[in-house]
């Protein structure tokens, strides 16, 4: 198990290097950072000097090697735009994104799993049908439209919830959290629903499909024949069997939630990493973009690893085989 984890972590370094390389080679097309960093009146010689100072004239290989070298030493460099150290920048934005992603995922699980079970057990019920149609809408409307609709309904028309930002934060060490105040939750709820809606739909449909399949398997039929109570059949025998693929998908989706919170963060002006990334693209802040992508790649790798390990913990059959 330990050897497996170590092996995966070593692989992850290569994944991140590959991401950094791809990102770096794409940045040549993003635009000119110098034009974003200087005013209109800055002379061309001053612009050229700045370009030289920042090492932007160096060949791609030199720039890439310098970047990876700095990263390996734990130096993330400085933002072109604000001159802040990027490590601190990302770290200060990380809690907002992680809290948003976690709450969104929890919402999708707390609502999605029961709804999935319900729609599996009563496939022809009116409630089931309307839930399924409702989630269809959830999948097909783009995130930003859902976000804007929620903002206008609950923020502007009803005036119940804040329309933007992250209010009521409490600092616990360097971690700025919005989970400890009512105001914090009020500003968290709309973005979390927006971000979680797609996951919710996915979870519900996945649980439903799995549950329906499991209910048709031999061991459930046998249990029914034996006269095991329905309650026990459904929740003790059928449900755990549906959860294995669900956990896999949801685990993998969490990486997606973190990475794709960009749109939600932008719509709600949620000060997380995604918003930072968007701003960085706008101002061609190449160092921040690179570090962000590498950090996201790291998240994906860690989450995949965690899912693999969780798999082993849940499914006893996998413990016997050395299938890795």
């Amino acid at each position: 198990m330990v050897a497996f984890a170590v092996k995966r972590l070593i692989q992850s370094v290569f994944v991140m290097l590959a991401v950094a390389f791809l990102a770096f080679s794409l940045f040549a097309f993003v635009g000119d950072p110098i034009a974003q960093m200087t005013g209109v009146e800055t002379s061309l010689e001053d612009q050229d000097r700045l370009r030289e100072d920042l090492g932007l004239n160096d060949p791609f290989v030199v720039q890439f090697t310098r970047f990876t070298g700095d990263m390996l030493r734990g130096e993330f460099g400085y933002s072109f735009r604000t001159r802040e150290p990027i490590g601190a920048m990302i770290l200060s934005r990380l809690p907002a994104t992680l809290e948003l992603g976690t709450v969104a995922l929890l919402i999708s699980l707390i609502v999605g799993i029961p709804a999935g079970i319900y729609t599996a057990l009563r496939p022809r019920g009116v409630i089931s049908q309307s839930l399924l149609i409702g989630t269809l809408i959830g999948v097909s409307i783009p995130t930003f439209v859902i976000g804007i609709l929620l903002i206008f309904l609950f923020g502007v028309q009803l005036g119940w919830l804040p329309t933007y930002g992250r209010g009521g934060t409490v600092e616990i060490g360097w971690w700025r959290s919005s989970l400890f105040t009512a105001q914090g939750w009020r500003s968290l709820i709309l973005p979390a629903i927006t971000l979680g809606l797609f996951q919710l739909t996915l979870t519900m449909r996945l649980v439903r499909a799995q549950m329906m399949e499991v209910m048709r398997t031999d061991h459930i039929r046998f249990a029914i024949a034996r006269g095991v109570p329905w309650r026990s059949i459904r929740y003790r025998h059928a449900l755990p069997n549906t959860m294995i693929p669900v956990i896999t998908i949801i685990g993998l989706q969490f990486g997606g939630v973190i990475a794709f919170s960009i749109v939600t963060e932008s719509v709600f002006q949620w000060p997380g990493m995604g918003l930072l990334f968007l701003e960085s693209i706008r101002f061609v802040d190449i160092p921040v973009m690179s570090v962000y992508l590498v950090v996201i790649a790291f998240f994906f790798v860690v989450i995949n690893l965690a899912v693999d390990l969780l798999y082993v913990a849940i499914d006893p059959r996998l413990r016997v085989k050395e299938s890795f």
Binding site: V40, D46, E84, V267
Partner: protein
């Protein structure tokens, strides 16, 4: 969809409250699309930074609501004999936010900081050779040539406390890594920086010891950048923010019609224009014309100008908020030429005739470069221009792109024609001549992407910069405006509008440079 009854009730309530209570000062929340990336007034010469910091720092002079130059940290100024420069008499008894005294040393320190290699505002002092301390409250700016507009041109040159900067290691603007002045500020201005959370929120509180009488009633001001226009609009309509700038033109009407909100639509000093690839030997993006550049012929350029119906662009795309422009500066700006106030008539027939005369009667196709997130509805304007040109048989292939890559493309000469907006930083007609009309060199004509070149204009620039007699200066500016119009070096389209939106109980002053001055804000 929209809440209509609630604001009315709230407004009625607040009116009854107001009648019984004295006007209470308030926390003022405002939003803009871009966060000022630094609190250092010399690090970046960009509007979001200078606009914001003008509330915290001050210059020797400042601009009034009509853009006139008025005393600030200098009480008076006079030209030195023989045009050797300018003498500024400094205001006595002014203190910085940390309590230290303001004097000539701070001015000299700030000057040296502003002309250092790490500074982005060096161009303001191109004509200055040295700054001399005459006494504690008098300084001379020595210039190479007489420079009548110098005081106004340094209105955004903000003064830092030399002692504070030295103590905190902020002697120079941050170039690579941030320094103390990137997130902290110690100015003399009406507001003090209370908290700075880059990209998220910046808080200002009034400076109780400000030398001038405060005209505002704000007790705390909180700035939040909101990049997404729909989010910004929702924040305004829900009452979470008091003021936002800018809002999209298409939302202005909706906000205006709702109770409790107000839209302030004025004109910015920015002229939107079309530029040509004057020094290109051949069109780059043409399907049939190779080895030739029709835009070399002034008749073709004039045909373009006459084929574009600016009135319609204004009415349909800019919702009537823009104003047609005839020159590189908007009407009424210092140095604007009244003799050349007429733009070419919209006349497609005349345009077709001109093309015929130039030998392009069958038309031609070319590439029109255009930003899609820089100016108001910029891409829509380019598309409208393309469809208007199509009517005279000229096919413009519009290539619209985000501004982050746009200037790079223009500098690499990847265009046949392009869209450009220009707001003169000095609020004088000399500015666009220096940057757009002069033949490109390392320091001059740096935004003249098409390489327009006219010897007479090049020769006139220096005399315009140093002419002290207003009439003689205006005569030269008139001549340049005439040459540019005659040559159709650019096709000025319109002056861009400025759209601010706020709660009805907020009074602000909209200055044409789009700077937001908290000292003119009252919350009723």
């Amino acid at each position: 969809m929209f809440r209509t009854t609630f604001p009315v009730a709230a407004l009625a309530l607040s009116t009854t409250l107001l009648s019984s209570l004295p006007v209470a000062a308030e926390t003022f929340r405002w939003a803009g699309t871009t966060d000022p990336q630094t609190m250092d007034p010399h690090a970046v010469n960009a509007a979001p930074v200078l606009s914001f910091l003008n509330n915290v720092y001050e210059g020797l002079v400042r601009r009034d609501p009509e853009m006139g130059v008025e005393p600030s940290l200098a009480t008076s100024w006079e030209a030195l004999p023989d045009g050797a420069g300018w003498r500024f008499t400094l205001r006595e008894g002014v203190t910085f936010h940390d309590g230290s005294e303001f004097n000539a040393d701070d001015v000299i320190f700030s000057y040296e900081r502003a002309v250092s290699e790490a500074s982005d505002v060096r161009s303001w002092f191109a004509s200055v050779t040295e700054v001399v301390r005459v006494d504690d409250f008098t300084v001379d700016f020595v210039t190479t040539a007489p420079n009548p507009l110098f005081p106004g041109s340094i209105a955004n040159f903000m003064i830092l406390d030399s002692g504070w900067a030295a103590e905190n290691g902020a002697d120079l603007p941050a170039r690579d890594a941030e320094n103390h002045a990137t997130r902290n500020a110690n100015g003399t201005g009406p507001f003090m920086l209370a908290a700075r959370n880059p990209g998220i929120e910046t808080r200002l509180v009034p400076n109780e010891n400000w030398w001038d009488t405060a005209g505002h009633n704000v007790t705390e001001a909180i700035f939040t950048p909101i990049g997404n226009p729909a989010t910004g609009l929702a924040a305004l309509l829900s009452g979470e923010i008091d003021f936002i700038s800018p809002i999209p033109l298409q939302d202005a009407e909706q906000v205006e019609e709702r109770d409790g909100f107000e839209v302030l639509a004025g004109l910015e000093t920015r002229v939107i224009m079309l530029g040509f690839g004057h020094d290109h030997d051949s069109l780059l993006y043409s399907e049939e014309t190779t080895g030739a550049n029709p835009f070399h012929d002034p008749r073709v350029r004039r045909a373009v100008a006459q084929a574009i119906d600016v009135e319609t662009i204004d009415r349909v795309i800019m919702r009537g908020a823009a104003e047609p422009a005839s020159q590189l500066v908007p009407a009424g700006l210092s140095g604007y030429s009244d003799d050349h106030a007429d733009r070419p008539d919209y006349d497609p027939d005349a345009a077709r005739a001109l093309l015929d005369e130039a030998g392009y009667g069958d038309g031609f196709s070319f590439g029109l470069m255009c930003p899609n997130d820089r100016y108001i509805n910029d891409e829509a304007v380019c598309r409208a221009v393309a469809s208007m040109l199509a009517r005279i048989g000229v096919e413009a292939n519009v290539n619209a792109m985000p501004v982050r890559g746009y200037w790079d493309e223009l500098r690499a000469d990847n265009f046949d024609m392009y869209l450009l907006g220009w707001s003169p930083g000095t609020f004088d007609a000399e500015h666009p001549i220096r940057f757009l009309a002069h033949t490109p060199t390392e320091r001059l004509g740096t935004w003249n992407f098409g390489g327009y070149s006219n010897q007479r204009i090049d020769a006139l620039l220096a005399p315009i910069q140093s002419e002290v007699d207003p009439a003689a200066r205006q005569a030269m500016l008139d001549e340049v405006a005439g040459i540019l119009q005659e040559d159709v070096a650019y096709v000025p389209l319109y002056t861009q509008p400025l759209i601010w939106a706020m709660q009805e109980n907020v009074d602000v002053v909209q200055r044409p440079d789009d700077f937001f001055m908290l000292r003119w804000v009252t919350v009723n």
